[in-house]
């Protein structure tokens, strides 16, 4: 199931009649419009990221830029199942999740540019997107560090008697962090409504899964008495079918689970990674050719008669325009000022009329 070696380029033949998961209840009841919306979301993510890469190459963006290209079906599939009560937290490869929960590309691009109009006012950058109004709790730069927070979201849901579930995303490298295991234990011990989602793209930076992880990743959950599952992440129907099962378990039974979704990133770990040392060009090409999640879903929808070539073209044109508009917006936006540096550090510093403490909060 999981990629064990970087040389694994085994072909998965395309099922003649499309995804066997198409008929899972959660997929069978999708309307044509909803299917198109799923496709559109994946295309928007890809075009946004391609545009951000160009901006990075044009030196408009600083720091790291971890692109999600190739993994789109995971974020879109999972987040398409969110109800108003569900919550999401993820790591630094967060553009896909942010767009999947419905954040506007303009402030996202502006954040990459370090502009005051960014979703985190230019204070977070690529790795630190947030939008609590959409139940999106970041964007976290420490590998695995977000997972206990995700358990905290689930704890909060349960404590406050709310209905939803939390999805806590991590990479295949993160599963080896101690904090993840502490989080698993707490979630299972306390029956918390959380789904741990391992997006297994086969690599953590330049280290293949084979070189970093003993055993099957999802199966580790069994040691914590948690349900677990694995699926292919290039097939959005499959992602949705499996996630629906585990989100339902969380929402209705308040039980956690761990799912491992096999996927792949086309680009380097970050754009600073030339990506010619730890995996072959052939491997990347092979995946792109046979398992591209957008291409596969598009073919599926063509065969279902939901998409037409003209509509595909239109969606793509709109997505490119949207990404371009986002870049223009970012370009035209102001940078934060030096005075802005010390805002958003303390709640009470930003709410001086309600300040209850005294003394100096900042030093020079």
């Amino acid at each position: 199931m999981s990629k064990k070696t970087s040389a694994n380029t085994e072909k998965t033949p395309e099922p003649a009649h499309g995804s066997p998961h198409r008929n899972a209840a959660i997929n069978a009841r999708l309307t044509a419009d909803e299917k198109i919306a799923l496709h559109r979301k994946m295309v928007r993510i890809r075009r946004f990221e391609e545009r951000s890469l160009r901006a990075y190459q044009g030196k408009k963006i600083g720091g790291f830029l971890h692109l999600y290209i190739g993994q789109e079906a995971v974020a879109v599939g999972c987040c398409s199942l969110m109800s108003a009560n569900d919550h999401v937290i993820t790591a630094y490869r967060d553009h896909g999740h942010a767009l999947a929960v419905g954040m506007d590309p303009k402030p996202l691009m502006a954040e990459l540019y370090g502009k005051a109009t960014g979703c985190s006012k230019g204070k977070g950058g690529s790795m630190h997107y947030f939008d609590p109004s959409r139940n999106f709790w970041g964007g976290h730069g420490i590998v695995g560090g977000q997972i206990p927070l995700g358990v905290g979201l689930a704890y909060g849901i349960k404590y406050k008697g709310l209905k939803g579930a939390a999805m806590a995303f991590m990479g295949d490298g993160a599963v080896n962090q101690g904090a993840v295991h502490e989080a698993y234990n707490l979630a299972s011990l306390w029956n918390l409504p959380v789904v741990f989602v391992i997006e297994n793209n086969g690599y953590s930076m330049g280290t293949s899964q084979a070189r970093s992880s003993a055993g099957e990743l999802a199966q580790r959950a069994a040691g914590y008495d948690m349900e677990w599952g694995q699926c292919q992440g290039h097939d959005i129907y499959e992602v949705r079918a499996m996630m629906d099962k585990f989100l339902t378990l969380a929402r209705e039974k308040s039980r956690p689970s761990t799912v491992e979704i096999d996927t792949y990133r086309y680009r380097g770990h970050s754009v600073a990674d030339p990506d010619n040392t730890y995996r072959s060009k052939a491997e990347i090409e092979e995946y792109r050719r046979t398992k591209d999640p957008i291409q596969l879903f598009q073919n599926q929808l063509l065969s279902e008669g939901v998409l037409t070539e003209a509509l595909i073209e239109q969606i793509d044109t709109e997505a490119r325009a949207e990404a371009e508009n986002a870049a223009e917006f970012a370009e035209a936006s102001p940078f934060p000022t030096v005075d802005d540096i010390q805002q958003d550090v303390y709640w009470e510093a930003d709410n001086p009329s309600e300040r209850k403490s005294q003394g100096r909060l900042f030093f020079d």
Binding site: H128, L149, L189, W347, S357
Partner: protein, 325 residues
């Protein structure tokens, strides 16, 4: 006024805040059925039940991180670290998440969490259990660091900490749990960042906090009696926010300063204080600022020697005499 222990004062603050706000929960290792490793939470489980008083596994990174996540959703967790020394195990969560999340989200997310528990040395438990993390914690903008010295302060400051919308690290000195003090039965809350002049004097200002306040008070009595030195003692009560104004007012009165802290001396809270005092009150000073800290080595186990490694009244007297020379 009733006289109760520092430990009881903290317990009363917890109970009152649990009573007042249903979002407040207490979580930590052994806080429930075992009544807390230092018995601070004794009786709370019986009163508030297992939903509010939650025993956690030994899992500092996990449960502190969980508390931070829950606080982002509006729960107000009060987390007990069995010893503050174990902050190192949860350091990533404390500093990367609690301290940063508000900033990195551009002010969209607040983190109203309190992390509290016993800190400091003096109980002969060696280097792993005697940390004084206030300088390391206070070095990070986005957090507050509170260090109460008396039962009265502990209660009033903990109540303020629980009501605060920023992450507050509340450092209780293990050696103070049994200390008694007057604590009113009526409700009161002390603002964070307000220093307290624990003793008035005219010749020397001792700026201090935590257990060193008690050592300084004991030393001041001797200095008065045997050396005719009148010492003013300023208890900071909180490191961030910091009340420098009260310190400067005292310096303007005495013109001499001794900083006493139960910290390692290098890059300490006292180092920063000395810098700020000389910068803002240089003309007031009649002598260099002196500083007394823990002797610069990991905490020694050997009981009689640990007493000498830490500030104690004799060491304070000696340092005060140097400051007066």
């Amino acid at each position: 006024m009733p006289v109760i222990t520092y430990r009881e004062a903290i317990r009363h603050a917890l109970a009152e805040e649990l009573e007042r706000d249903a979002n407040v929960v207490v979580l930590g290792e052994e806080v429930g059925q075992f009544h807390g490793a230092y018995k601070v939470t004794e009786g709370l489980l019986a009163k508030f039940g297992p939903q509010r008083i939650v025993d956690t596994p030994i899992s500092e990174a996990g449960f502190i991180g969980m508390g931070i996540g829950a606080s982002m959703l509006g729960v107000r967790p009060v987390m007990e670290l069995m010893f503050w020394s174990f902050y190192s195990v949860a350091f990533d969560q404390i500093l990367n998440n609690a301290a940063n999340v508000r900033y990195m989200s551009g002010g969209q997310i607040s983190c109203p969490i309190v992390i509290r528990g016993p800190a400091n040395g003096g109980t002969n438990v060696g280097a792993t259990h005697s940390h004084t993390p206030e300088n390391i914690l206070a070095n990070h903008p986005g957090v507050k660091v509170v260090v109460p010295a008396t039962a009265y302060d502990a209660k009033g400051l903990l109540k303020a900490s629980i009501r605060d919308n920023d992450p507050v690290f509340f450092l209780e000195n293990t050696m103070l749990y049994g200390e008694k003090g007057e604590v009113p039965t009526e409700e009161y809350v002390l603002p964070l960042g307000k220093a307290d002049v624990k003793r008035e004097g005219t010749d020397l200002t001792i700026v201090t906090y935590g257990r060193s306040v008690l050592h300084s008070l004991a030393a001041a009595a001797v200095l008065e009696k045997e050396h005719e030195i009148s010492t003013e003692i300023v208890d900071l009560r909180s490191i961030r926010p910091l009340d420098l104004d009260t310190v400067l007012a005292s310096v303007a009165k005495t013109h001499r300063v001794l900083v006493v802290e139960e910290q390692k001396p290098f890059c300490s809270v006292g180092s920063q204080l000395a810098y700020m005092i000389q910068r803002e009150a240089f003309d007031e000073l009649d002598a260099p600022i002196h500083k007394l800290a823990t002797i610069d080595a990991p905490a020694i186990y050997s009981p009689p020697v640990e007493v000498e490694q830490l500030p104690n009244p004799q060491r304070v007297i000696k340092a005060a005499l140097q400051a007066m020379a």
